[in-house]
C-alpha cells in the first residue's frame, strides 16, 4: 500500500490535529506517518497531505488522551510535542497508537521496548529537564517602569532549545503570585505574561519582532552587584573546578544569567 504522510504545523495544535486526521482516515496506522513541516526530499510512491491546525479537533484529541491515558501520560505527550526535534510528530503519533490501538493504555510511557515510545519518552524527558533547568536558572530583572509599589515588573529573557515557557510559567505564577512578571523566549519570540494576582497567558510576538532593551530600575544594578559578589565569595578556592561548574550549568544557560554576565566581560 501507498505510504501517506501528514504534514503538520510545529505546535501542539498541529500534532494533535494530525493525530485526529490520522484516525479519521480509518486505514490503520501502518502506512500513515506524521511529519512536522515540509521536507526537502520527497519520497517516491508516497502521498503528502497538509493538515492545517484546528482548535476543535485539537481539543477533542486532548480530551480523549486525558480521559483514556490520564493526566500524567497526557502531560508527557505534551512535553514531547514541545520538543525541538522534528521527529517528534511521528514519535508522539506512534506512542498514541501504541496506547490507544495496541492497548498499552495508561502505562504506554513504560513500554520502552517500542522504539517510538522510547523516542517519545526521550523527547519528553529532554523538555522536562530543560524546563527544570530554566526554573532554576531564569534571572529576573526589575524594570524601571515601577520602582515602587504595585507597578513593578520583573522581566527575564531565555533561549531554550525546546518550547519550555508553558511548562515554566505555572511554577513562577505560584511562587511570585503577587508580582508582575514576564518570561521571554528569544528563540520562539514567545512571551509568558503574569499580571499580579491574575492568571498567566502566552503572547506570540511574531517572526519580525525585535526586543527593545528595557531600562532597569534604580536598585536593580545594586542587587545584581551584590549577587555577583556573593557568587564569587561562596566558591572554595582549593576546590575550584570550572569543568564541574560547566557540567552542572551549561554555557547556553550561563549566557543569560546575571552572575556570569560580568565574569565573561572581565575575562575578555
Amino acid at each position: 500500500m501507498e505510504e501517506k504522510y501528514l504534514i503538520c504545523e510545529d505546535s501542539l495544535e498541529g500534532i494533535f490535529t494530525g493525530i485526529y486526521e490520522a484516525y479519521a482516515l480509518r486505514e490503520g496506522h501502518t502506512h500513515v506517518h506524521m511529519q512536522i513541516g515540509e521536507e526537502e526530499n520527497l519520497r517516491l510512491f508516497a502521498t503528502y497531505r497538509y493538515i492545517p491546525p484546528d482548535p476543535v479537533k485539537t481539543d477533542k484529541v486532548a480530551q480523549t488522551l486525558k480521559r483514556r491515558l490520564g493526566e500524567h501520560t497526557y502531560h508527557a505527550l505534551c512535553r514531547a510535542a514541545a520538543s525541538c526535534y522534528r521527529d517528534k510528530g511521528e514519535a508522539v503519533y506512534r506512542t498514541v497508537v501504541d496506547a490507544l490501538t495496541a492497548g498499552s493504555g495508561r502505562r504506554v510511557m513504560e513500554n520502552l521496548k517500542n522504539p517510538h515510545v522510547a523516542r517519545c519518552f526521550e523527547l519528553a524527558r529532554f523538555t522536562a529537564n530543560e524546563a527544570h533547568y530554566e526554573t532554576e536558572f531564569i534571572r529576573f530583572q526589575e524594570l524601571a517602569a515601577g520602582d515602587s509599589g504595585e507597578n513593578r515588573i520583573l522581566f527575564s529573557k531565555i533561549g531554550p532549545k525546546n518550547n519550555v515557557v508553558p511548562f515554566v510559567m505555572p511554577h513562577f505564577a505560584d511562587r511570585l503570585s503577587i508580582e508582575n512578571f514576564m518570561v521571554y523566549d528569544e528563540n520562539r519570540k514567545l512571551f509568558g505574561v503574569h499580571p499580579a494576582r491574575e492568571a498567566w497567558y502566552l503572547v506570540s510576538a511574531g517572526e519580525d519582532f525585535n526586543l527593545q532593551e528595557f531600562p532597569l530600575s534604580e536598585k536593580e544594578e545594586k542587587y545584581q552587584e551584590l549577587f555577583r559578589a556573593f557568587h564569587r565569595t561562596i566558591g572554595i578556592k582549593s576546590r575550584e573546578n570550572k569543568k564541574l561548574q560547566r557540567q552542572m550549568c551549561a554555557y547556553r544557560y550561563q549566557d543569560y544569567m546575571t552572575e556570569f554576565a560580568q565574569e565573561g566581560k572581565n575575562e575578555a
Binding site: A229, E240, M248
Partner: protein, 445 residues
C-alpha cells in the same frame, strides 16, 4: 544588648565577609518541603529542591548561605572564624538579611535563606538573633520560601523550638565522627551538647507529625527535617567509623542528610594535617556514593566495610567494590531479578531499576533496550544476563573485573568523576597498583 561590630560597614562588604565565612558549611539543599504560595507574600517550596547557580568550585548555590556574624567566642582549630584568628569581623542586622533574601528571591537568584552564625556573646544570645531575623522574614515580609537555620548547640531548648516552627530545615553540625576527635579539634564543643538539640529537633518533628494528623492546619515544625555535617580527613578516622556514625544518625536520629566535607586547612594549624594533594575530594566522593547506597539502595554499612577492611577502594565506586566481592550473587538475569537485586547491580540506578521493572511487563528486555532505559552497560555488563546471555563472554572473576573497571576509569572512559579534568584528585588514581595489567585488559569477544 546592642551589636557593635563595624556598624558603618556597607551591606556589600558584610556580604563578602559573611558569605565567605559560611562557605565551608556544605548543606545547601532546599529539598524536603513542599508548600504552595498563599497569595499574601512571595515564595513556595518544591519537594525536590532547586539549585539556582553553581559556584566556581562546581558546588550548587541554592540558598543565600551566610553567617549572621563571624564574631565567635569559641576557638575551634579547623574554623576560619575562631576567636584567636585576626580576620575582619562583621555582623548583619535582621533587616539587612531580610532585604537581601527578599530581593534575591524575587529575581530567582536563590531558593531561600541559610542562616548560621558564629557564637556572639553566648549561644542563647546568638540563637535569639537568628530567631528574630527569621521571624521578621516570615511575618513582616511574608516570605514563604525555604529557610534553613542552624541550631546553636547549648542554646535554650525554647529558642530552638521557636526556630523550628519558622524554618523548613534545621541542622547541628557533628563536625567530627568521633567524640575524641571533636575534643581534640574543638575544645569548646562537646558531643553531648551537639546531640541534645539534634534529639530535641527529632522529637519535635515526630510530635509535629502527630499534631498535623489531628489538626490539619497545625503549624509545621522543620518540615524538611534536619541534617548535619562531618569533616573528612582532618583526623585519622576510617571510612568504616564515619559511615557507621552516618548510619546511626539516619537510623536513630532520623536525619534527612549527612554531609561530608573534605578538610581544608584554612588556619594552617600545626596540629592539623597539611594535605599535599589538596582536600581529599575523591574520598569525600566515595563517602557520598556510599551514603546514597545507604539511603536509596538498601545497603547496610556492614556489607560495604568491616573492621578488617575499614576503607573504601578508592579506585572503584563502593557499589562495584561490593559487587566484585560478592560474585556468587551474579550474574543477575535482568528479566527475572527482583527490584532489590536490580538495585545492587553496578551501572543500574534507582531510576533505571524502576524502568526495568515497568518495561519488562511488556516483554523480554534485550541489551539494546537496557541502553535506552539508561543502564550504564560498560559497568553493568560483567554482572548481568538478558534472556540467559551475557552481552559478550567475560570472566566472572574479581581481579579481572576490577582491572577492567579501573582501566576504563584511567582512560577517562569509565565512571564520571566530578573532578578529573582539572587535575585535582586524579593523581590519587594513578597511584593504583597496575601490575600485570596490560595482558588482561582486552575483553574477550
Amino acid at each position: 544588648m546592642e551589636l557593635r561590630i563595624a556598624p558603618q560597614m556597607s551591606v556589600m562588604d558584610k556580604l563578602k565577609i559573611l558569605g565567605a565565612a559560611a562557605k565551608y558549611d556544605v548543606s545547601c539543599s532546599s529539598s524536603g518541603s513542599s508548600r504552595r504560595n498563599d497569595g499574601q507574600g512571595i515564595g513556595n517550596t518544591v519537594a525536590a529542591g532547586l539549585c539556582h547557580s553553581f559556584a566556581a568550585d562546581g558546588r550548587c548555590i541554592s540558598l543565600l548561605k551566610i553567617l549572621f556574624t563571624n564574631e565567635c567566642i569559641y576557638d575551634c582549630r579547623y574554623c576560619a572564624n575562631r576567636c584567636s584568628n585576626d580576620v575582619p569581623r562583621a555582623a548583619f542586622t535582621p533587616d539587612e538579611v531580610c532585604e537581601l533574601t527578599m530581593e534575591f528571591y524575587r529575581r530567582n537568584y536563590i531558593e531561600g535563606l541559610f542562616l548560621s552564625s558564629g557564637i556572639l556573646y553566648s549561644p542563647d544570645y546568638t540563637m535569639e538573633l537568628l530567631c528574630e531575623t527569621v521571624h521578621k522574614l516570615r511575618t513582616v515580609h511574608r516570605f514563604q520560601g525555604y529557610i534553613h537555620v542552624k541550631a546553636i548547640p547549648g542554646a535554650d531548648p525554647r529558642l530552638i523550638q521557636r526556630a523550628g516552627y519558622l524554618a523548613d530545615r534545621m541542622s547541628v553540625n557533628l563536625e567530627m565522627a568521633t567524640a575524641e576527635g571533636l575534643r581534640a579539634i574543638a575544645p569548646n564543643k562537646h558531643r553531648k551538647n551537639i546531640l541534645k538539640p539534634m534529639r530535641q529537633i527529632q522529637n519535635g518533628i515526630t510530635e509535629n507529625k502527630n499534631e498535623i494528623t489531628l489538626y490539619k492546619h497545625a503549624p509545621h515544625f522543620c518540615e524538611a527535617g534536619q541534617s548535619t555535617q562531618m569533616v573528612i580527613g582532618a583526623l585519622p578516622e576510617s571510612d568504616y567509623q564515619i559511615m557507621s556514625v552516618a548510619e546511626n544518625l539516619y537510623d536513630k536520629f532520623s536525619l534527612k542528610r549527612v554531609y561530608y566535607s573534605a578538610f581544608v586547612n584554612v588556619n594552617e594549624d600545626k596540629d592539623l594535617p597539611t594535605l599535599a594533594g589538596g582536600p581529599p575530594l575523591l574520598r569525600e566522593h566515595r563517602l557520598y556514593q556510599a551514603d546514597w547506597l545507604l539511603r536509596f539502595y538498601g545497603f547496610k554499612v556492614d556489607e560495604l566495610l568491616t573492621e578488617k577492611r575499614p576503607n573504601f577502594n578508592i579506585a572503584i565506586d563502593p557499589k562495584a567494590d561490593w559487587a566484585v566481592r560478592h560474585l556468587e550473587k551474579f550474574p543477575v538475569e535482568i528479566n527475572r531479578a527482583d527490584y532489590q537485586m536490580l538495585l545492587r547491580i553496578p551501572g543500574v540506578g534507582v531510576k533505571s531499576a524502576g524502568r526495568i521493572v515497568a518495561a519488562r511487563r511488556f516483554g523480554n528486555l534485550t541489551f539494546e533496550d537496557l541502553k535506552k532505559i539508561g543502564v550504564v552497560l560498560k559497568r553493568a555488563l560483567y554482572f548481568i544476563t538478558c534472556n540467559g546471555k551475557m552481552m559478550y563472554p567475560t570472566k566472572l572473576e574479581e581481579n579481572y573485573i576490577v582491572q577492567s573497571l579501573t582501566y576504563q576509569n584511567q582512560m577517562g572512559r569509565g565512571e564520571k568523576l566530578p573532578f578529573l579534568a582539572d587535575g585535582t584528585g586524579y593523581r590519587q588514581l594513578s597511584l593504583f597498583d597496575m601490575d600485570g595489567f596490560d595482558d588482561k585488559r582486552t575483553i574477550a569477544g
